[in-house]
Structure formats: C-alpha cells, structure tokens
C-alpha cells in the first residue's frame, strides 16, 4: 500500500520552478487583487508594474542617477514644466505603438482619479500634459515640485491610450498591457503568469534573460521557506523573510539582503498634546536618546540586518547629511543625570504605542526601564491604519514605528511629514525649523535645499525631537539556481535575474 502511494505521488505533476522550464517563480506574501499600480497603495502592484511596464525616466538603483528609458531626454523649461523627448521605436505588448498620446492618456487617468485611487498620491502635483509634437510632451506641475523626476521614475508606468480607453483602469487591473520586459499572460488562483516580451526595446533595463515569470501568493513565512527549499519557488520577496529565519535558508537556497530606505524611529510627544507633558523638556528627550542601545538592537535582535542612524531621515536620501546631526551615544548614566536635572530623579511612567517589530519595541521598553522610565506597551499588531490615526491626532505620548518615504530618495519624503508645522505626524513648534522645511520644498536649487535640510537636521537632533533608531536591511530568499539580488529602493527587478551555469 505504502509503495503504491509513493509511486502515485511520484507521478504527480507538482508545480515546479526552475531552469528546466525557464520559469522563475516568485512568492509574494499578500494577494494581488489588482495589477493597476495607480489603483492601490500596495507596494507589490508597483513592483510588478516595473516588470510589465516602463516609466519615462529610469532611476538607476545602484547609482541613483536618472537615465533615459521611454524618454530620450528631458529638461525644465520653467520651474513647473518638464519637457520630455520620447522614444519612437517602442511597442506595447498588444502591438500599439508608444507615443505622446499614451503619456497624456496615462497621466490624465491619474489626474482624473487623484481622489479615488490611492496609488496616485505621489503624482498629486500633476497639472496637465501637453502634446507638442510626435515625440515631445510637456508635463506641468501645479507648483514647484523638487521630487518631480523622482516620482515620475518611481510610479508612473505608461499605459496604452487605446487599451486604457477600451477597458479602463479596471481592465488594466485584471489584464495589464505595458511596454515592459515581461508581458502579462494570465491570472488565476493567486497565480499570475508573465512571459518575456520578444519585442522589448531594452532601454535602461536591458533584455530579460528568463523566459517566464510566475508570481504566487504565500502568506505564511513558514510556507515561503518550505516552498524555497522544495524548489516550488525561486524567490521569496525581499522583506518576506525575517532576519531570525536567515539560518534556515541553506542548502539549495540562500539569503540576499539589501539596505532599504525605511527607517525606524521612536517619536516623543514634544508638545504635550497627548496629555502627557514629560517629553516637553529637551533634557528628557535627550535622556531617552542616551537610554536606548541602538547598536545592540541591530546586532542582536536584527542579527546585523540594519544600520544605526543619527539623522531623522535615511542618509542616502538627498538632503540627509549625517554630519549635520547631533549623535547620542548609548549612556544610561548620562540619561539618568538628565532625567534628574529635568525633575524626574525616580523616572516616570508613560505609554508606548507600536504596531510592528514587537521584539524591538520590547527591547526599547527594557532600555527605558533601566533608566527609570516605566512603559506600558499599547500594541496594535499589524494595524498601522488604526494606530496611525491616533498618532496623527497627537494622542500617542510615545510611538515606535517606521517610515519608508514611499521609496522617494529625498529628505522631504520624511522630514516634512514629521517636522514641518502642517506635516501629518509633526508635533514640534519651531518657526526656524518650519521655515527651513517649507523653503526646501519651494526651490529646485540643490545647494540651497541641502543647506536648508542640514539646518533642519541640526535643530531636530540637538533638540532631540526624535530618537532615530536604524535604517532597515531586508532579506529575500533566493534559489541557488538563480543569480539575482534585491534593490535598495524595494522595487524588485525580476528582469535582471539570470540562471546560474
């Protein structure tokens, strides 16, 4: 009986990834219900859009440089108008020729849905697109937008005008058509299939080496690791493998890591809006900075998958100058001295709000307890939308969280949110700080912006409005049959993968 069963199962056509059928299978941890990256704030849709679609401008993930892609060149003809020259030799997957009408149709689709489609938000600056001739468009912004090129390169995949008019965003979401390296084939049962586009123009991305790309959904980490080890999948997406599971990736799989833009921070209620006024005193805030052992968190809890930062931004972001920051070394004795000076010789009690990385939150609680700050953890596991509402309303005396800056390599994507007067999560009152951050958004002069952000960093850190903790490092599980690694901007470029010899 047992032999019969084994023989039967051996005959079964189990789904297999791998070089034998030139199919690379990638596991996502969440279900994809739409492939229209403008329709959703889901990062996974954006990742796939970079594989089946193309943007006008390509941001090189290694150098950070903007490179021609669907656009051959561009220039600002005034601070709010970008003139873009387009390629004339590109074809969409459905045979439509790429041209200025597609740029106009795509960006007008975005503008028409700014208030209904969550994925359009970083393009809210769009004011209009004018077709100048058969290979030139003007893209207009409603105000000076220093991040115009950044956002066009990040999220603005071009859709074919004819197909978009025929099927709408809903149709794009279920069967996308783009110009990208991989063409959509089918989607069913949480499995999405693409094939290499034979007429791909290459551009800044080059030609895909692997013939087929399959995306599967595996919500459980244990299942992803199991599938990697059985060869059912070739890649478990970066960020879907916990640092403490890296040791399980052995044999025919390995871990590939990438430093990412996301930073972790500990925020304090510097204005007392939550009803707790302990953090209104700069000495208390500085004490908290000295109390937390960030190196230990990174080296032990995160197994080295992180980098301690001293800035209220990621140092790879434009304008984020570590030299401008005041650094606080781990010094619990100094922390207790500062607390005593501030009138808390016996410490105090305070609530800490959090929603992810509970081990780190608990470690922070431990460090604070050592200097006399007793904390009650208000845990909203995974429910960022719920806890961020409390944070935004100023109801959290302290908050442990992270910020990805929407993958925008500009300090404005984080500092203006947390420290400019009308920023969503800003609870500081400093006219100089507010002025610096506001002016940094109103100019495209790079040197001026650098200076303004340096001033802001100096004030934020010397006043210890925040505790910058660490910048993240994410792990992907990758088959040893595959040559591929994740990117720091968290846009996974599957078209760069090749089979190992």
């Amino acid at each position: 009986m047992k032999r019969w069963l084994i023989a039967l199962f051996c005959l079964l056509p189990l789904a297999a990834a791998g070089p034998e059928d030139d199919t690379m299978t990638v596991a996502f941890e969440r279900v994809m219900l739409t492939l229209d990256s403008y329709a959703t704030s889901e990062r996974l849709a954006l990742i796939l859009a970079h594989n089946w679609g193309d943007t006008l401008i390509h941001r090189n993930p290694e150098t950070g440089d903007f490179e021609p892609h669907l656009a051959t060149d561009w220039r600002f003809i005034d601070p709010q108008t970008l003139e873009v020259d387009l390629r004339t030799d590109v074809t969409f997957h459905n045979g439509e020729a790429f041209g200025p009408d597609d740029v106009q149709a795509t960006l007008e689709y975005v503008m028409a849905n700014i208030e209904t489609l969550p994925g359009t938000r970083v393009l809210a600056w769009l004011d209009g697109v004018d077709i100048i001739d058969e290979d030139t468009v003007h893209i207009r912004a409603s105000a000076v937008t220093p991040t115009m090129l950044e956002t066009l390169a990040l999220v603005a995949a071009m859709y074919p005008a004819g197909y978009l008019a025929e099927v709408g965003g809903e149709g794009i979401g279920s069967a996308p058509v783009g110009t990208g390296p991989y063409a959509f084939v089918s989607s069913s049962d949480n499995t999405i299939t693409f094939e290499a586009f034979a007429d791909y123009f290459g551009g800044a991305k080059g030609q895909p080496s692997i013939g087929n790309l399959v995306i599967r959904t595996l919500p459980e980490e244990a299942s992803r690791i199991a599938a990697l080890r059985t060869g059912e999948i070739d890649i478990a997406r970066s960020g879907s493998i916990s640092p403490d599971q890296v040791a399980t990736l052995r044999g025919n799989v390995r871990a590939e890591a990438a430093d990412i833009l996301r930073v972790w921070y500990f925020q304090m209620d510097t204005l007392g809006t939550s009803g707790t006024d302990v953090f209104t005193d700069v000495r208390v805030r500085q004490a908290v900075n000295h109390a937390i052992n960030r190196e230990e968190i990174v080296n032990i809890l995160l197994n080295g998958f992180g980098t301690v930062i001293n800035t209220p931004c990621n140092p790879v972001q434009f304008g984020c100058d570590p030299e401008a920051a005041t650094a606080y070394e781990y010094n619990p004795e100094r922390a207790m001295e500062l607390l005593a000076e501030a009138g808390y010789p016996d410490g105090f009690s305070v609530d800490v709000f959090g929603y992810r990385d509970q081990q780190v939150a608990q470690a922070i609680q431990g460090y604070l307890a050592q200097v006399g700050i007793d904390t009650e953890l208000q845990w909203f596991g995974g429910q960022y939308d719920v806890v961020s509402q409390r944070q935004g309303a100023g109801e959290t005396p302290s908050f442990f969280g992270s910020w990805g800056s929407s993958s925008i390599y500009d300090a404005s994507a984080i500092m203006n949110i947390f420290f400019e007067d009308d920023g969503t999560y800003a609870f500081t009152e400093s006219e100089a700080l507010d002025d610096a951050l506001e002016m940094a958004l109103e100019t495209v002069d790079l040197e001026q912006r650098r200076t303004l952000y340096a001033q802001a960093i100096d004030e934020i850190t010397s006043q210890a409005y925040w505790v910058p903790l660490y910048a993240g490092r994410v792990v992907a599980g990758v088959s040893e049959a595959l040559e591929w690694s994740p990117s720091s901007d968290e846009i996974e470029r599957y078209y760069l993968a090749t089979w190992r010899e």
Partner: protein
C-alpha cells in the same frame, strides 16, 4: 413542507440583512476605511481627499442605503481595494471554497461516521478509547499548527504534495485534511452518542433476536435511525466551512472566500466585506435548511 421551506427562506432573508447591517457598522467602528486603503505614508489631506472621492464621508445610513439599493438591483459595487467589481471577485473564490469544503466534508463523512459507529458498537473497548482520544486531540489541536505540520512533513520532508495554492487535486489534499480534521471530532462523537442512544432501543434488541446479521442491524437499522443529528451537524459544518475557512485558506494560500475575507476586513474594503458576509450568512442558513429537509427524507418520523 413547502410552507415550512418558504417560511424559513423568509427568515433567512431577514437574518442576512440584519447581519449585513451589523457588519457594516462594526467595520466603521473598527477602522477608518479611507485610512486603511491609503498608503501608510499618505498625509492627512490625501486621506481626506480619498474619503471624499470614495463617498466615505457620507453619513453611515446614506452609505448603507446606497449599498442596499445596489444589492436589490444585483449590483454589489466595486472593491475599494482593487477597483474590480465585487461580482467579478467572488465566483472563482466561491468555487474554490466549495471544492475545499466539499472535500473536507467528504473526508469527515467517510472517516468520522465509521469511526463513530465503531466506537459505539465496541463501546468500552480499546477501539472506543482510541476513537475518543482522536476526537479529543482533534478538538485540542490548533488548525494553524496542524496545517504547518502537514506542510513540513508532506511537502518539505517527503515532497509528496505542494506547499500551497490551487490548480490540481493535489493542492486540495492538505487543506482538506486540515479543514476536515477540525470538524472530525464533532462528527465522531456525535455519531457515537447518537448510535449509542439507538442501540439501546428495543427494536435493535429485536433485530438481533431475529437473527439478522450484525452489519445489517448497525447500518440499516441503527445508523438510519441515528442519522438525523449527524446530517444536521454535517449540514451546519459545511455551511460554516464554505463561509470562511479563514485559517486554513491563509496557511495554504488557498484562493477561497476565507482568504478574500481576511484581505477585505484588513483593508476595510466595505463592498467586498458586505458581499462575503451576505454570502456566508446565506450559505449557513441554506445549509441548515437543506439539512432539515434531508433529515426529513431520511427519517420519516421527522415532519414539519
């Protein structure tokens, strides 16, 4: 019987509506749908614009009324999360969940009922003890853990079955076993106790006395007379499983209604949540009704 069925269907409609209203209100209490849909890095202004654009700033009674009016016309709305029509999202997932639930109930029927019969017939023996122990273990075992253990053994170690997904019948095996095991204990114990009650009846003693074969006595006379509660329980279970095998579908990434329900609740995708709740409630109610009707067919003593 016809008037009984009509009355039950009328009740079903009312219950489903009440459930949909309660769900709608609970979702708004638990989450801000606009904030749940927006990027985690959206500003307050962007969230407000989204709320406005999607009509989520309207009074609750207006939003619910609009939804209800659409349902009456057969329009269940558009998913806020994926922008796909709800009626396009559900059918394939319902089929998947039906396949899974049906497979699980099939396994439970062919395993649970015979084991329950054996436990009753051999009451007090080692067979009875083993079956009872299996039932207790099944009730105590977390489904999540069982599913992962099955994956480790049968997928990773032995490589016999796939880790997850759907596509071939092999994909259904592990999720069906996991799901079935969650209802197996109830079926075994119910069969056992129901059989014991019947086996103590005089007509069973008479059947033995008449010299009938034991198998005939147990299967034709005893089982048939004890079938009503078993059928009712299986009917209830099928409805519950079809409506949301959430944990199992999540562990195995099985693209059914349960998985979609998790996504919809997490993202506060109101139209999808409402449609799933309505579907699940309807299924449970109809499954109950069918179980009652089937019980009447099997047991002529049952009359409505």
């Amino acid at each position: 019987m016809t008037s009984y069925i009509s009355g039950r269907l009328g009740q079903a409609l009312l219950i489903a509506l009440i459930i949909s209203l309660v769900t709608f209100l609970l979702l708004f209490v638990a989450k801000d749908p606009a904030r749940a849909l927006a990027s985690p890095e959206a500003t307050a202004e962007e969230i407000a614009a989204l709320r406005r654009g999607l009509g989520l700033d309207q009074p609750l009674y207006v939003q619910y009324g609009r939804w209800l009016a659409g349902v009456v016309r057969g329009d269940f709305g558009v998913s806020l999360y994926s922008r796909q029509p709800v009626t396009a999202l559900l059918p394939a997932r319902i089929r998947a969940s039906a396949q899974l639930a049906g497979s699980a109930i099939f396994l439970v029927t062919i395993i649970g009922i015979p084991l329950g019969i054996l436990a009753a017939v051999y009451r007090g023996t080692i067979i009875d003890t083993v079956v009872t122990a299996l039932a207790v273990a099944g009730q105590a075992m977390p489904i999540f853990w069982l599913g992962l253990m099955l994956v480790i053994v049968f997928s990773v170690q032995l490589g016999w079955l796939p880790v997850s997904g759907r596509g071939t019948w092999q994909h259904v095996v592990l999720p069906a076993v996991t799901l079935g095991y969650s209802v197996l204990p109830l079926t075994m114990r119910l069969t056992r106790s129901s059989m014991l009650e019947v086996l103590a009846q005089d007509y069973i003693r008479t059947a033995h006395a008449k010299g009938l074969q034991r198998r005939r006595v147990y299967l034709k006379h005893a089982l048939r007379n004890s079938a009503t509660p078993i059928i009712l329980a299986l009917g209830l279970q099928f409805g519950a499983l079809l409506g949301g095998a959430v944990v199992t579908e999540t562990v195995f990434a099985y693209p059914g209604i349960g998985e979609l329900a998790v996504i919809a609740v997490t993202t506060a995708d109101l139209p999808v949540v409402q449609a799933i709740v309505l579907f699940a409630a309807s299924v449970v109610i109809v499954a109950n009704l069918l179980a009652d009707v089937l019980a009447a067919v099997v047991d002529p003593r049952v009359r409505y």
